[in-house]
């Protein structure tokens, strides 16, 4: 991966002891998404359909679904409402589910985290600061479920 890409992409692989169909539904079913991200959801899981997740009553992630291929692949755009640095739809999240039976490997990629600034400045530091701005939005202190310590 080129250095510039490393700065603008977050990737993770996760092994989950659940069938792909089950894991997939956590990206398309609002009630299930509420168990891992956000408090209010508008999800229309068809290409071009809305993707909107209110994280905590203040920070809202928004974009639209690009690809929905159950139970193998879901792609949606992503950004933050009221964010200049990372507006709704300005980056892309790609989720690929592989595996067999009751095991799933989740391949997660969040890319184009700051393409505009990457071109303008061509420096990792700027991508980095942009991402920090995003984190500041998403990681806003308060009654944010994901900030609570795990039981």
């Amino acid at each position: 991966m080129p250095a510039s890409e490393a700065h603008t992409t977050f990737t993770r692989e996760l092994r989950i002891d659940a069938p792909r169909e089950t894991v997939f539904s956590y990206f398309t079913d609002p009630a299930k998404m509420a168990r891992w991200m956000g408090i209010e959801h508008r999800l229309d899981p068809v290409p071009g359909g809305a993707f909107r997740v209110d994280m905590n009553g203040r920070n809202v992630a928004a974009g639209h679904f690009v690809e929905v291929v159950p139970p193998a692949r879901v792609v949606f755009t992503w950004g933050w409402e009221a964010s200049e640095e990372m507006p709704p739809g300005s980056s892309t999240v790609e989720v690929r589910l592989t595996g067999e039976g009751d095991k799933t490997i989740l391949h997660f990629v969040h890319r184009d985290l700051s393409p505009v600034q990457a071109q303008r400045h061509g420096e990792g530091w700027d991508h980095f600061l942009s991402r920090l701005g995003v984190a500041a939005a998403g990681g806003d202190p308060g009654p944010d479920p994901y900030r609570e310590p795990s039981p």
Partner: protein, 108 residues
């Protein structure tokens, strides 16, 4: 970590960090790049310094500032925590559902 996030949540403060990431500048030199008052810039510098994002060095009666990238490096992992934490929660929820489903199937 929260003071750091608060510090970088302001676009002007992020711009200040960019200005001094490779060179030292005095408060006056930093302020000259902005069309806001010098006291306002001083306050931004104080917030950044208290968050550990800027270092201050005295040179005679001048105070020079420079970014502390290592402080930001600590935040970098925090950035990724958004997805790491959320995906861990997803895993937990999906596995719990799968376990419950297995138990239901076993009873039938």
């Amino acid at each position: 970590m929260e003071p750091v996030l608060r510090a970088i949540s302001d676009a002007r403060r992020r711009e200040i960090i960019r200005l001094v990431r490779r060179r030292e500048l005095s408060a006056g030199e930093i302020a000259a790049r902005f069309d806001v008052s010098r006291p306002a810039i001083s306050q931004h510098i104080t917030i950044l310094r208290e968050a550990g994002l800027l270092t201050e060095r005295r040179d005679g009666n001048r105070r020079l500032y420079r970014a502390r990238p290592e402080a930001l490096a600590g935040v970098r992992s925090f950035v990724e925590e958004f997805w790491i934490d959320h995906l861990d929660r997803l895993k937990e929820a999906a596995e719990q559902e799968a376990t419950e489903q297995e138990e239901t199937d076993a009873r039938q």
